[in-house]
Symmetry: D2
Subunit: 269 residues, 4 copies
């Protein structure tokens, strides 16, 4: 379905019934990326997927904006669907939106699941982002600048056929498409001001933080930092896994997300 948000269209899908999981994508993903996960994620839950502004089927933007706009887009979707409480989950860019959402609209969030996330956009990540823009000279350059870093070296080396097919697909369909690359640029730039480091202590909701041992873009130290500051957080490290957790370790991703979203409260001490 499409939902109007200040004259822009936000594409969203709702699948299944049960405790609501809102699952937010990373850059270069979209609702489509989750297609193989929908049966598992909607079996016992209502699953909300959406394309951010500048992503998938949602409207393209013309000007720079801040990631806070995506936070309000998510809220618009929830309000439109009459959802007042949900487990909020996200990966990478989507996890940044999650943290900002949990700070701005805490009453909507009953649990928070953050995969491969950072609390702020450091100069180092900014320079990687600038490299992505610089790599727009050719689809191949763009591939080489971006994609190898999404995976752990181990996964990449063990799945060369899959990687190769994906490379061809990305180069043919996306990395030569100026509109797509413009939208990635805008989304990337929208995070320039992302910095919730000082406010992590305000997040009161039960939080799960999942990192990949071999994540090259949002290294474990970042997740450790976050988990030490959100009062009610636990952290697990997925071994032998890079940045794109749901592709490298789909069972772990599903185990963690569905297990966390659905398990009862327990208090021992």
């Amino acid at each position: 379905m499409f939902i109007d948000f200040n004259g822009k269209q936000i594409y969203a899908e709702s699948h299944g019934q049960g405790t609501t999981i809102v699952l937010l994508s990373g850059l270069m993903m979209s609702v489509k990326s989750w297609r193989p996960f929908i049966p598992a994620l909607s079996e016992n839950n209502r699953l909300i997927l959406l394309d951010f502004l500048d992503q998938g089927k949602s409207s393209r933007m013309c000007e720079p904006y801040d990631i806070a706009l995506q936070v309000d887009a998510v809220k618009r979707v929830l309000d439109h669907l009459g959802i007042t409480q949900a487990v909020l989950a996200g990966i990478s860019y989507g996890a940044s939106v999650c943290m900002q959402f949990a700070l701005k609209y805490p009453e909507y969030v009953n649990r928070l699941a953050l995969f491969n996330c950072v609390a702020y956009i450091s100069p180092w990540i900014k320079d990687l982002g600038a490299g992505w823009t610089a790599a727009r000279v050719s689809p191949e350059a763009y591939y080489h600048m971006t994609t190898p870093f999404f995976y752990s070296p181990g996964f990449y080396n063990r799945n060369l056929d899959w990687i190769s097919a994906r490379k061809d697909f990305l180069i043919e369909n996306y990395f030569g498409d100026a509109d797509f690359l413009d939208s990635i640029d805008r989304m990337t730039n929208s995070t320039n001001g992302h910095d919730v480091r000082e406010r992590l202590c305000e997040i009161q909701v039960k939080t799960l933080i999942a990192g990949g041992r071999d994540d090259l873009l949002t290294p474990l130290a970042e997740q450790k930092y976050i988990s030490e500051r959100i009062p009610n957080a636990s952290m697990v490290t997925i071994e032998d896994c890079g940045h794109a957790t749901m592709y490298e370790k789909p069972e772990c991703f599903l185990t963690l997300l569905t297990g966390f979203a659905n398990c009862q409260e327990i208090k021992l001490q």
Copy 2:
């Protein structure tokens, strides 16, 4: 309920309905230890708990035995209950039984969840076990020899009231009880021959291995070893967590066990 096993009584409980989870305890635990977890674990699943021989309400043994006997005791319980397939889960001693069960009766196991486990009883662990026997001189000595190593230093230092109450409870109720300590000795010795290192490659079922970053009894290196040899295994490390995962990080324990037991198969590559 009590189930006859070659003239011994095995105590078992069945809770709830759904995909069956058989959850096996560690040393110094029993069905009672899981009491606070039962609502969460049986909400969407049939949960089978049992006391091993020499544990909880099950019969005490008079002579030494091998851990393989516990494997057959578990099988007896499943057969009695008409369970032909289950998610097999265990922690520490219980995880050793799980691995041996999965090798001997693979047709009963559709998934395997191993918490804080080792593939073999090394001389080092044997010497710890010998220390436990040597510490039987006083309940206090026994406490000091065993309990501090069950927890991560961080958890221990942060939960001194809980630890202190537990110390009093254990010293008063268990660590001065010769029958209890005899049964622990026998269970400990039953693992002396536990060594599945060469057979890990035969375990075909989807396996989740969970370790604690600060586990002092079954250190992470052991779990890494196992996860690299079981073909269909994923491993997660629970940060800031010692050996007694279910007490230190109950939400992570529940997230991983219920998530893994219930999530659908997915195949991306």
Copy 3:
């Protein structure tokens, strides 16, 4: 040589010439423990070894004391030998003395090398110490309560002959000797007030912190804590190594200590 310290005798040795390294032992060690290391450590350096009060050939104490007394004993040795500046190095108990020394007598210290150390004696470690006292019922119990935790499981399992010989030696010569065990008790208790956490930021001198990946007594998290608070500190983790670094990885120990003691200053940024 023996040096008078308030009526007590401190045993000390000086070997070689060059930049002075003062190397302080852990509990259950003494000057004798370093015998095989002396040629390597004194080849290009003046090496000062000493037995703490209640250790090796130094005087036994009759009453409880604080570890601060050992700090002053070290200072007495340096003054007696006319040493006004040295590289201060220590392992475990010796590293605690090093940190306190560097805070009390900073003018004596030009570099600080801390192996397997903690910034404070937590309740967890205190309870281990209480276990040591409780284990005095028999030399075997004492062995089992203490020694297996000094090593990484990997080292222990790979060096069973050496471990076995050491076990016999310790049980025969030390662990049945009430005087020895009394002195260990007093030294252990002398650390009860050790807590330099809030003062780590005052240590200005260049500091090397070395931890063992598999250290079960002073886990890595402790060293990480220290290295993040001493302004001029670097930290290295020795892989596949437990608490007794100099026995498990003697080459790494020598590499780090001599390299750090002797390498010139360098400033790139």
Copy 4:
């Protein structure tokens, strides 16, 4: 000095006296990169530095070649200088040459120090290398594609002035210079066949392997792999350090290299 090698000129320097250290550079480095380290490294040692073919002041190549050629270039330098035994040390590309040298000319090597190295050039690294070539479209693109990955995010973010000056320097002097970039391409391609995985077990010499916790180009798992296969190897992990160890942690680099090169043999077990 320049040394003839099959009609090509190899530039080499010799500094100081003592046990010889041959120190081999990584890609994008040269003898000049070590300038600030020479006093410390030659104080007690004879330090040999050299520019590989296609590096620094050595001859440029016209055609593709294998890294084995660099191995023979190093041997030529040693023979010319009459060096029959040395501590062989290298970082990244230089460490690859070290390993191949130690396998081909073991009689020349008495110790081996490997910083930030890999045992083989995996498809993943090859794809990074292809990205470097693709990034030649502009000096800025080349910078973004390469340099941020040489450092840990932590170091990068803490040293923005230094990084910024380095960026300007590299862009102005190197990353727009086609000759320089051609030589980097050739050196990169020379490693395509580098694979010593099956032969690591043949390296008999005492070996030190040093990795950076946050190394994004040659991740720790690679060094772990190597350290588990060279029989006489120890491994240390430098905390809070990326790929360019000598820039990020110069004291650790010097400590490890000089300590390892100069410390006496010791045998405890």
